[in-house]
Point group: D2
Chain length 429, copies 4
């Protein structure tokens, strides 16, 4: 795992206006593109991966469709076909281009996509001047949703470009190297008693609908690892034949291991000189003290079984994180932390909750009791994916810092590995 | 949905010995084959469906491998290749024949498979004479597991042969017709207050490992429908365009509906004379008062959304079923109920909990807190499937009555329809 | 390769009437089933392979559809759905059951299929009494076509059951063993000068439409091997790394070798005790003097290139065979030849032209100049397959002797191996 | 079909030196890229289609590998990984990048690829100065092959970019519009008597190996259409239900029509205002007098059957073209013909033999008698594709004029439609 350092983009100041936050988020997206050549924006290396150009356009389409169209009668799209090309999956927002074909569309060009962004931004700033910071304005909530949506795509953009560079035999680098951790903190266990807790988001501020409603949960006694599993620990699992022992794996997981010939996390390569890891800074020797990353749920679950532990539930994670501040090596925090982030335990004793890797939980991604998606196409945001996915908690080094949240429910299917995903162990006290 | 009536097989008497129970369960499996021709035993119509011949042999292999091999030094298998052919998925029990090829193996013949059963039975009865009813005997627990395992395959055998007959353009019948319900009971709602409950099996008697350990769960207030959704109610969903409205469906569900061109439950057919349903007694006009059956989780979830309700969680179902006796139209109870089973509400007001259709819950199939699978190959029974499946509760008309249990956790993936699966609605009070 | 010995079925006597020939061919089909168990009739092990039961019924459907329906007003099919189930590919004869699903249809049972045959035979014999040997009767030609069609299915039946038994881990045997050749005759070359020849069938007697019209072809000088390539010679190719050298293979052939991991002909297996070959008599040590069999066009072509020769064109083969009588180890000749057939060269010096293996030619299967298929559904017999296939000449040990003919054009795609197919080499003089 | 007009690239003058021809061909390739944006060079829309960037690099790799490496000790590749990335299918020239992944490789950039071309050109011109026009120089023949190879990729480049633009919902244009034919010449038939002819290339000058050796063929009497089938004639086939009548199609062709839902040639679209055709100049109303283009062999064969004719054999085509000069609307001839090419019959009465569309023949692509591929990796050029393809004769509007030749054997599989392929009818006199 390498740390993303995209340079001098200022985070929006505390107490920023909605217009300032809009400007900062949109600028951050474009700053992430600085290291790219025109060709890099165009392709998709697998169905999960979208072209950079598509991310840039889709996030603009979101504002166009859900903010400008209902609130600005004078707004005209630069090209009515963009609505077809850049709708991701909002069935109620009209016909869409097939996801599998995103990577073969060469026009609009990158320059045209940036012009599209500027066109949307100009209209948005006119509207933002009218909305101000009036949270009761009908556009306010959707604009805020659009900003968080764009931050999600910032992470995807980085995640996807890493895969694009990996699939290229020339293995280009997105970033210069930054120093890695010299040694991991010793693994400690924080213990928690049984209790009834509130789980889920109860405001104030922004959350996605899937974090609500907050509700009471009886959480049994448990303990949680003070930090994430390291590359060094994962290497021990590999060396012990972890990928060759069916008894460690879920049935589907074992089938996947065999079919795809997995022998290690994505981006690891065995060379005559030892294991390497492909990072955003190119191929590097495996950094043993860094958290293991780019592992699927199947691998996370098998590793935990091998280690004699288990994955935490999402309720356990959320309860444990209660007094831990959001801190870590976020994508937009890099300029403050030229070296690796300190893995200093907080008062609960837990490090690396945010900003290193997303942490797989043993909780399937289903609705909270009483969950109600938003009405209309916006309601397709989260609820319709509540099937065959697992919840991940925390945030990764590719997540924007202002996007991380204790109640955040990220979710991916069991075999997904191209995200910055890792493991924090749990168990009974 | 048709009722299975396999005739005069006596259930083991109350207080039966282990040997008597063994004899009764094994005889029941063979009784289920009475309506079949030799050819019917051989084929598989899709990967989920195993040949009848395979069910007959696999259940015998189970006793051979897990009971006779470790407990009877003198036991010799009639053919050492049977261990390869009839192991289903127990990786630790050795190499296996590929599941997808089960339906192309013509030898051993049906007669040879019955001889294999007799060979195993003879050895088992010698062993059973030694074990008696001594639950501390090392073989006792595994024999009991083997009987429940065989009962699961009894249900699968019936479920699979229904699919085999359906895929045949001649549409043979497995059973003679039995009368259907003339009218469904009115739908009522039973309400339950918030409370902390024990969920899971805490003995005495038999349970599968996945029902344990019993643990405390905070269940919020909820209400539960007094009976299952009927064919008539499902028809209203179909007629309202339920299969054509993406907003009702999970994202994967909608993709499945379009790809497989689903327009109604499996086994329904639209004809010039109205809807028909293929049943174990052949094709019949759709019986409106019978419970809707052969629906996937995707359909169950979409139907509930359309109806303005939701599926129950498995904890809710188990809490609600607390004072309801196990009764219904089970496969081996048919001789006691020549007509349809009464849908008479019990003191909790709930009917059709058992013996009509398995009921999809909104709970993903994951481990209970503190779950530990059995050691060795037997431990592959349940735990390794805890991924991308949903829990179903209750029991169907194809389930043996003595196999149904309040804490039973059946599980299938989101798109499975060939099982006897239906819907009971839930909601907030 | 093993020799088929199906016992005491008499070939129709020379000068037999049409009715006698009908009776003999139909009896021969049923005689081929003698070694089978009921279960063996039901399954299909790959798309190319049809169930025995299907062959029995389809050949009867052919007479029903193309002979009885237009010529016998009183004829009634025992089941009108049989026309759907047993039409192979005659689009103009109505809707058909999907080929890929032939192996999952358990009803009609085997007994019912034999009853269907008897039903058709009874009606056919009534009609045959009326037709006599009047070749001008409108039914005469189609009956003769139906007999040759049934003979093709006799070969397919044997070919297919061999694959069914091969795919069964128990490897059953269809036949008792017969002695194999002790040694192959030495390979000699017969030379032929350039000349213009008539190629194709010009009567009298029966031919398929694709053998017509006879036409003149300029055939350059060539030479042809006196016998087929042996297992021993093929083993040298295997041992020389023939399956691992891309320069020997067509591009598609090399892709196929790698994708399917071919290392030898179908039915060969490398064991600790040397190579074995699965035959109709079960698994046996590789018989080095027998002709190599069950090789695809890709393999035939690569072998020829490796050997420094080439495959013959179909015109070369036909010209060379001009004065060679039809003789060999045919399926229905076995009782006359209890030992292997003599490989005695005839006056042209060529042996094994018929009755051992079909011989791949380097001629693509396209229409002869002026080819006209028969009108109506019967015209779908041959012409619509003139694409992406190669012509094979001769006849195999599974071909009925009365079905072999010098102008016969058999055809299969480049990757087909389950037929009794081998290689005769050719080259420039 | 639209005409390619790529502007002011001078053809090499008659009597040009090898160095002049090299310079002209290389410049022509780059001139074809003039209308493209950087993004357009990167993608592949299906396996058959290569990125423009890949064509530019692969043709340079050909010179690097087969000319510079064996003849210029001092030559150093700019990047040793290019040999991996830009080898197409020459197994003997080393490992290759997977064809299916060509369209996801963003680096080297377009600018880097042009630099690669310049690097190769510089070394080539040093070598060409040494070679001069000495045909006995060991490099001479391979350089000439490399130029013809590059011309093949010029046609592919145009063909592929048309597909890339077609797959883009915005439907960009590659070229400005040029006028289309107002009316087709009337269809006449040229008749030819039976005779023995030499077929194949016998020099002097360049040919591919698959055109040799010239050999004698007996060609029966035949007649050939004076021009190609027009869009207007094809429309009559469509309107007559040609794509819905199985009796017109080869068996594989009918399966393809149904599976891919073909209703007309590739690039045709049915709109409320009538049929349109996507051309290199964008979408236009169907031009009825232009030759039908972008049809597969399956469609060509079905059309001919529907029309009561057949496709010519390749020998017939070559015999008929004997006294017809190479003329037509070639890609590099456009500046001489600002309007459509005249369809003026020559002295044999045949028009449109070259420069409009490739013409499917009914001849499978197999070796000529006595064919010997070149030794080494260069020998993989043609021979290894002699399987499951059909010969096409003539040349298309996307072919460079100096690349067309009477004996040229182009070849594609039965379902290929993205090439500029059409139909000329033939029949008996």
């Amino acid at each position: 795992m390498t740390v993303v350092d995209v340079g001098p983009v200022a985070a929006p100041p505390a107490g920023a206006t909605l217009a300032e936050r809009y400007a900062a988020v949109r600028a951050q997206t474009e700053a992430l593109c600085a290291p790219l050549e025109t060709e890099d924006y165009v392709v998709s290396t697998m169905t999960d991966v979208s072209p950079t150009k598509w991310h840039l356009a889709h996030t603009s389409w979101f504002f166009e469709t859900f903010v400008l169209a209902p609130n600005d009668d004078a707004y005209v799209s630069p090209n009515p076909r963009y609505a077809f090309l850049f709708n991701s999956y909002y069935v109620q927002a009209g016909e869409r281009h097939c996801r599998a074909k995103r990577g073969i569309v060469t026009r609009p060009t990158v320059a045209e996509v940036f012009a599209y962004r500027a066109h949307v931004d100009a209209a948005m700033h006119r509207l933002l001047a009218e909305v101000g910071d009036d949270a009761s304005h009908p556009a306010y909530g959707v604009i805020e949703l659009g900003l968080h949506h764009e931050q999600q795509h910032q992470e995807l953009l980085v995640t996807d470009i890493k895969h694009v560079f990996w699939m290229n035999p020339l293995r280009p680098a997105y970033l210069p190297r930054v120093p890695e951790r010299a040694a991991a903190a010793p693994l400690r266990w924080a213990s928690f008693d049984e209790g009834v807790h509130h789980v889920g988001f109860a405001g104030p501020g922004f959350s996605f609908d899937n974090e609500t409603p907050a509700h009471r949960v009886l959480v049994g006694a448990f303990r949680l690892a003070s930090r994430c599993v390291t590359n060094g620990e994962w290497l021990a699992f590999v060396d012990d034949g972890g990928y060759r022992k069916p008894e460690l794996w879920l049935s589907n997981g074992w089938a996947t291991v065999q079919e795809r010939r997995w022998e290690a996390p994505l981006y690891w390569e065995r060379t005559p000189d030892g294991w390497t890891e492909f990072t955003l800074a190119g191929t590097a020797p495996l950094a043993l003290a860094e958290p293991a990353c780019h592992v699927s749920y199947y691998e996370a679950d098998a590793f935990a079984r091998w280690a004699g532990h288990r994955l935490p539930t999402e309720a356990e994670w959320e309860v444990a994180a209660e007094r831990v501040p959001v801190d870590g090596r976020f994508v937009d925090a890099r300029r403050f932390h030229p070296g690796p982030a300190p893995s200093v335990p907080n008062d609960v004793g837990l490090a690396q909750l945010y900003g290193d890797v997303w942490q797989w939980t043993g909780s399937a991604y289903v609705a909270y009791p009483g969950f109600r998606p938003s009405p209309g196409a916006i309601g397709e945001y989260n609820g319709k994916f509540m099937c065959d996915q697992w919840v991940l908690r925390g945030a990764s080094c590719a997540t924007p810092r202002s996007h991380a949240r204790r109640t955040y429910r990220n979710f991916f299917p069991s075999d997904a590995r191209w995200q910055f995903t890792g493991v924090r162990l749990a168990g009974e006290p």
